[in-house]
Symmetry: D2
Subunit: 294 residues, 4 copies
């Protein structure tokens, strides 16, 4: 629900500008204050760059203090109820508030190790991550040098605030904040789209997989709406399962009772949350190919 | 261990012929007696056809009695220790002697239903079946008419005795009793075989999957020996898992930290135990295709 | 240029209706007269069906006379200047007016053989045909029985008049009269669309090939507008040539000086003039695949 | 026809060694003389390296004189009959002795330009080249610096003498002097090899194409013997044409009268004369893929 326009932001006075952006950068109204001086911004992307430039312009110590103003991820603060409302909302989709006790303990241990090493809490834009990707990021970033890690944390704050900004402000030239996962099924046995193929999408993690969507292909071999859209794609591993067995059985071809291909899994990872992943299946009862398409 | 030659079988007297083939057709020396009259057999396949023809020549009631002389599959007889030695050996590979109590109960119930319907025990060449395929066959064959089922049971006895015969007798023109599953990995990013790719083979059942083999591809992108060979392939569902992630990482290409393709599963079914299944993977870091090849 | 609307046609008197459709059915105003009685027509497709039904309702002899009212294809009449304006226009795209003397002689001979066999001129909707397809159709149809050939000729008149109708009358529910040929190029070496690939389209005939279009792929690996559209596709054989050599050379990969793939020809035929043919290329420097897609 | 063994060469005296290798290095018995001192050679490859090392050990001026002792390619010398017997034999396969007058003039002009630039004749191992590749090499090498070109000419003399050596001397460890081109056709519509597909191989040049081979695929979808083997593959561009139309028509599938795929051309280049090129076709009536396989 965008509550204000970019044009209004460009036109208002500095206190109004700061108030309108309150909460986008946590506990740090000085970011908006500094960025206000460089108005007007022609696009939302330029506005976001202006805000981040205000952070980058500060000396190292202040940048670290700025990072430190962010809450722990799913940490003690969360239990104590002190995470800002938006952060909680952002984390909800990931299920971090439904951590088992063992997982909670593990997250806490990683959080503590991180804070001990860098002196500030682990910040990550959870809306761009699966739970497994968050754990991987913990491990990868613990190996960073302090300078690298400050840069990594600021990049994540950039992702967090970019999302908050486009939800708060309406205007042209929005920075990319959504990705898209789509598929289609082509039957090269008959030379046309495969209609009526059940397609399932799973998120695959270390501890199992969870089904995110199930669709039937339409007359054009597509699923209508994309499988994922209108939000960042979460970095992580996925599996599409194409139910070719019933589809080809319905075509009444001379195939073995136990067909060569039945449920065809296609496992792949998403690394670009704002990217477009088109993962089609080109198939016969005896062969298939898939690729990252466009 | 072939203990006798076809030439010797063709030359010996009838009692010697019957003795040499003892146990191939369970409790039914009359099969060999009848077939002895049609010697000489030019090939092992012809000998086996001659033996089966002796069964087919009998009136319906005797054919049913012949089938009924076979032991129950994993049934009460097995518990009582009365299955012939070869049958036990044949079943070992399938793991039927490691049935859980629940599974044992289920098999027993199917066995009882089958016997109640047809009046003879369920006969199947277990060496050509995965455990899940045996269960599927129970269900499919329970729907047969009595005539269809007699034909199905005799066909299975044909498969069982064909295997026993080629293990007992040495000679030219053996009937087909072995299948082959092979793979290779081609890297169309570099235009050559993919060496050093870990490939796993799993049997996939309703209750999970079990790893049957793990290999590394050689300089020619192949696994040296086939994944399965020298025996019938078991009818069932399988999964090959190709570990492309480490392979392409070792090639030091500009790929995302979380690569699009890492573990590539290829799930397929085998329906022809004596067939050749070549299931290759033609891949880049962003695409792959597979097919039943030759 | 649609000069009249379906609504107006439905509302006018019979003479007005007949006058508005004059020339669509050559020399046969009675077709429109008969169809006028069944107004109103809800769609253009229904109007066309109504007109064709008027022809089908006539006894065999009249249907043959109706066919015989059509001019010879590129025959003596053409030389003498007596073909109706629309027919000449329709033939122009095919190049039939640029026949060499030898070809002209051949067409005349086929025309004469056809007329001798069936007693009426060879009618074909040339806008749905390449020149080679017309020749093939001559040969195929000469083998028809008289009844089959009357049906074939009426079907062609259906195609001709359907095209004329949608050009003359505006309204909802037009019958299909256009096809589409499109392509795109995907680079599975890098995992994205291939931009800047030169793509040529040729018509391939017995005596050579003629280039119909040349395009460069855009950032999405597509050619912008389809290669062919807004008209029936001509039945015939085509070749797409994808210039992969310069494309991959520009990516500066470690490839041989003489690359494995340079100009990649994809030869295919179009059999459905009103169909959609999407013929993509999915390629690396060492491999490619293509298919009739959607 | 190997006339002598490596063992005998290792054992003979120096004059015998030089005599046995006479003509391999044109007009330069000193090469063999120098290499004789380093005997015994364990392999043919080592012997050839020893001979080339004797050339490389000479000062620049002598290396150039050594190159200059080679005849012009198809030049004035050829007309005058002064090319050594082996060179003429080597060139025969390429058809250089059948040059048209215009081509002859062009080759002469390139030869003259080359000699004017470098002071020695253009040397190339024609048995590793198509005619078009020789022309390309002329152009490429005219752009070399003198030092680069001396290296290029010596490399070609290495290829020429390697071929002559393995034809003259028998022994272990021969250097690679042969390549292989093979294909197979897989029908993924039916899930098995495509038998009875006509496959043609053409050499493609600037002025047209010439058919080198025509084969029918066997029951395994292969052509029996490779398409090219037992000699170096000639650097150049080729086209395989797979006649899928008649093959699928014989399978009696519901396809259009004018099938989507009929003659499928696959155009590719060979850059490694001693390499193995396997170029298969994996096809349905509506799709195909090809790649450099192994």
């Amino acid at each position: 629900m965008a509550a204000i326009t970019l044009a209004a932001l460009n036109a208002t006075d500095v206190p109004g500008f700061v108030a309108a952006l309150d909460g986008i950068f946590e506990h740090s109204p000085w970011v908006a204050e500094a960025a206000a001086a460089h108005r007007p911004y022609p696009t939302l992307a330029a506005l976001h760059e202006g805000l981040m430039a205000a952070v980058e312009a500060r000396p190292p110590g202040e940048r670290i203090a700025f990072i430190a103003a962010h809450p722990d991820l799913a940490g003690k603060a969360a239990r104590a109820g002190s995470i800002a409302a938006e952060s909680v909302f952002e984390q909800a989709g990931l299920g971090l508030d439904r951590l088992s006790d063992a997982e909670f303990t593990r997250f806490e241990a990683l959080n503590d190790a991180y804070r001990a090493r860098f002196g500030f809490p682990f910040v990550i834009c959870v809306r761009r991550q699966t739970r497994d990707a968050v754990l991987d990021a913990f491990k990868t970033r613990l190996a960073n040098s302090p300078d690298e890690e400050v840069a990594a944390a600021l990049a994540e704050i950039g992702f967090i605030t970019r999302l908050r900004l486009v939800e708060r402000v309406e205007g042209p030239g929005a920075p990319p904040t959504t990705g898209r996962l789509s598929t289609h099924v082509l039957d090269t046995h008959k030379g046309g789209p495969a209609a009526g193929v059940k397609v399932e999408l799973y998120e695959v993690g270390a501890s199992g997989r969870a089904r995110l969507a199930v669709r039937m292909t339409n007359a054009d071999g597509r699923t209508g709406a994309p499988l994922l859209a209108d939000a960042p794609l979460r970095i992580g591993t996925y599996e599409l399962v194409f139910h070719l067995g019933p589809y080809f059985a319905a075509r009444d071809l001379p195939l073995p009772e136990r067909p060569f291909l039945d449920e065809v899994p296609v496992r792949f990872s998403i690394a670009e949350p704002e990217g477009h992943y088109h993962v089609p299946l080109v198939a016969t009862p005896w062969s298939y190919s898939t690729y990252r398409g466009s």
